[in-house]
Amino acid sequence: MTKPKIALYWAAACGGCDVAVLDTNEKILDIANLADIVFWPVALDFKYHHVEEMADTSIDLCLFNGAVRNSEQEEIARLLRAKSKVMVAFGACACFGGIPALGNFTTRDEIFERVYIESPSSANENRTFPQTLTKVEEGELDLPEMFDTVMTLAQVVDVEYFIPGCPPPVDIILKVVDLFASGQLPPVGAIIASDKTLCDECERTKEEKKIARIYRPHQIIPDPNRCLLEQGIICCGPATRGGCGVRCVKANMPCRGCFGPPPGVIDQGAKLVSAIASIYQSDGQEDINRMLEDIVDPAGTFYRFGMADSMLKRKSLPQGERRA
């Protein structure tokens, strides 16, 4: 009997999701025994043409990490979709846009101007910018086109499953492999994590959610046993799906929302605005003004990982849109 085939790919990514797969440690050998890994750019030598030569849906499981922010990533997402039975958005970037999606607060032109002209180390008086096509003596060199807007994988192709996290924890990765191997993958569309919020998993003592001040993590040394939100530190726990093992809060840092919105919440950032503003105690305009001052960057704080997946998706573009 032929072994099932697995593919992995990294798009607009940092590499951390691939490292997380390596963090399955010796179980990676079990995975390699159970299935043939037919494509994995960071670790194996297969090229795009190998994928193109595969029959459609011959890849049984594709773990796609990273967001989509250029034409090559979009093309490979479509290619892998065509060749795969099951497509998994692996990690916060593929699921929600992740950190790269913070680029949705700006535009390609602004980025280019900053990177190639304004940045203090740039020496570019000729105002040379990268081009999608450059003619040189020997022929032509091309580059993928960079989009204005960063997208989630599901905004480009159909996706069967979502594994959130930055990066996904090893136990969830192994659970997915197990479910796949035993033919017990859940109904299509499932997000493979907890069905509750992070708060449900968190073991810190919770009393009453009422705060009079908001502090940024560096401004106070919090009690390691009490709920961070109750101590005035913005923790995204109430509007974040659980299942991560509460790793950040256990390190005394607040949750930043990398598991995305919990069931029933469409827009994670909006939910956080609602939650944080609700628990803030105010006696009048002065208190409200102080709250606004203390939350220095609401968009960045509440949409840190979820910009591409939010209802607004991006900051308004200057005039019309160039691409996606």
């Binding site: 450059t134 580059l143 390190a251």
Partner: protein, 398 residues
């Protein structure tokens, strides 16, 4: 301590997953086998298990200290968020001891599999993988390698110091050139200026990496690593070494250094101190931080508003510093390896890639735009300028 563990995990992964396959299986072996899984199959499950285990130890240490090993969250203005307990420290010490032994084993493996193999030694010292350049790295006050703190030192192709600067001064010494055919920029030494893709003293091109660090330093700060450092230079004919594939040898020497340092730090009485952060009393408006990332010098430069929120950022990462040299290394291999009348093969593409792999697997951070995959095409023309063969990867169909 966290950072040493990080170096350990990364160097193990880079060497065993990226470099070792070319040497253990052979540069022109079947791509289906020429990977970490093939290495494990060849060296045996026991050794394969040791590789995985020691990388896991390093990740465990980072997980414990940092919350997560990948994307750790424990750093914040004023210090770190959580102290190390005595029980954790004991665990780190035990793991660190094992890491030192494993690093020694890896160097022995490199010796037996690579250095004792005449063909591989010839490959390493051969001209096609050699490039004379300036070298850059972070050193402490005694000019020994330091991953975390110190001044940036640049030496020339004879190993002589030509500049030394503190992080805040980096803009006086480094600038970046742009080409239309790449999203990644091309750093160069301002002292010499951008002269294009040329080798040698007149060029502004410099390299970072484990080998650059060893070239730049006068020695290692730990004894076992120092001995290996001396052995490498003795074997390869003195300092500095210009052999690109020796990046991997230097990488293993650094693995040993990182492991020794990890052990030292885990035994430091102060490492379990509960005082790990202070409350900042002022908000800076600008800062430059330079560390040595696993693959080379990493520069972060931020400008902030009066809330300390970043307004402007400038990053020059290791891959970026190396980018001009990477292009040249690849070109050199391609030019030398394609011989008239001989068939051009997938093995050729791999030999070109080996030059690249010595530097880095990762273009992601370097471009700021995260295209993610390096498109590469080797086009072979005959002497009449006619295309004989085209080998490509990661390019759209023509």
């Amino acid at each position: 301590m966290f950072y040493c563990a990080h170096m350990v995990h990364s160097h193990i992964a880079h060497f065993y997953a990226l470099a070792a396959p070319d040497f253990v299986l052979g540069p022109t072996s079947d791509p289906a086998e020429r990977n970490i899984l093939g290495v494990v199959a060849k060296v045996g499950l026991e050794i394969g298990g040791e590789v995985i285990k020691h990388r896991a130890y390093a990740q465990d240490i980072q997980n414990t200290i940092g919350g997560k090993a990948t994307h750790p969250v424990f750093g914040l203005p004023g210090g770190i968020s959580k102290p190390v307990t005595e029980e954790e420290r004991k665990g780190f010490e035990e793991k660190a001891r094992s890491e030192v032994e494993f690093a020694k084993f890896s160097l022995k493996l490199f010796n037996d599999v690579v250095l004792e193999n005449k063909d591989y030694l010839a490959l390493i010292t051969g001209d096609i993988y050699t490039m004379k350049s300036y070298y850059m790295g972070l050193v402490d006050s005694q000019n020994r390698i330091n991953f975390y703190d110190g001044d940036v030192r640049v030496v020339d192709e004879d190993g002589k110091e030509i500049v030394r600067f503190s992080p805040a001064e980096y803009l006086d010494y480094i600038a970046e050139h742009t080409e239309p055919w790449s999203y990644l920029k091309f750093p160069f030494l301002k002292k010499t200026g951008w002269k294009g893709f040329i080798e040698g003293r007149e060029s502004g091109i410099y390299r970072v990496s484990p080998l650059a660090r060893l070239n730049v330093a006068d020695g290692m700060a730990t004894p076992l690593a120092q001995a290996e450092y001396e052995k490498m230079y003795q074997t390869l004919g003195g300092k500095p070494v210009h052999a690109t594939l020796a990046f991997h040898w230097a990488r293993l020497i650094e693995l040993l250094y990182a492991a020794e340092r990890l052990l030292d730090l885990s035994q430091d009485k102060e490492i379990t101190s509960p005082e790990v952060r202070t409350i900042p009393t002022a908000t800076p408006d600008e800062g430059v931080g330079i560390v040595e990332a696993p693959r080379g010098t990493l520069i972060h430069h931020y400008q902030t508003d009066n809330n300390g929120i970043v307004q402007k950022a400038n990053l020059i990462v290791a891959t970026c510093h190396n980018y001009p040299a990477m292009n040249m290394s690849i070109k050199k291999v391609a030019q030398a390896a394609i011989k008239k009348g001989e068939e051009v093969s997938e093995g050729l593409l791999n030999m070109v890639e080996m030059a690249f792999r010595a530097y880095d697997p990762c273009f992601g951070c370097a471009t700021h735009t995260l295209p993610g995959q390096m498109p590469m095409e080797v086009t072979i023309y005959d002497s009449q300028g006619e295309v004989v063969r085209r080998l490509s990867q990661n390019l759209p169909d023509r």
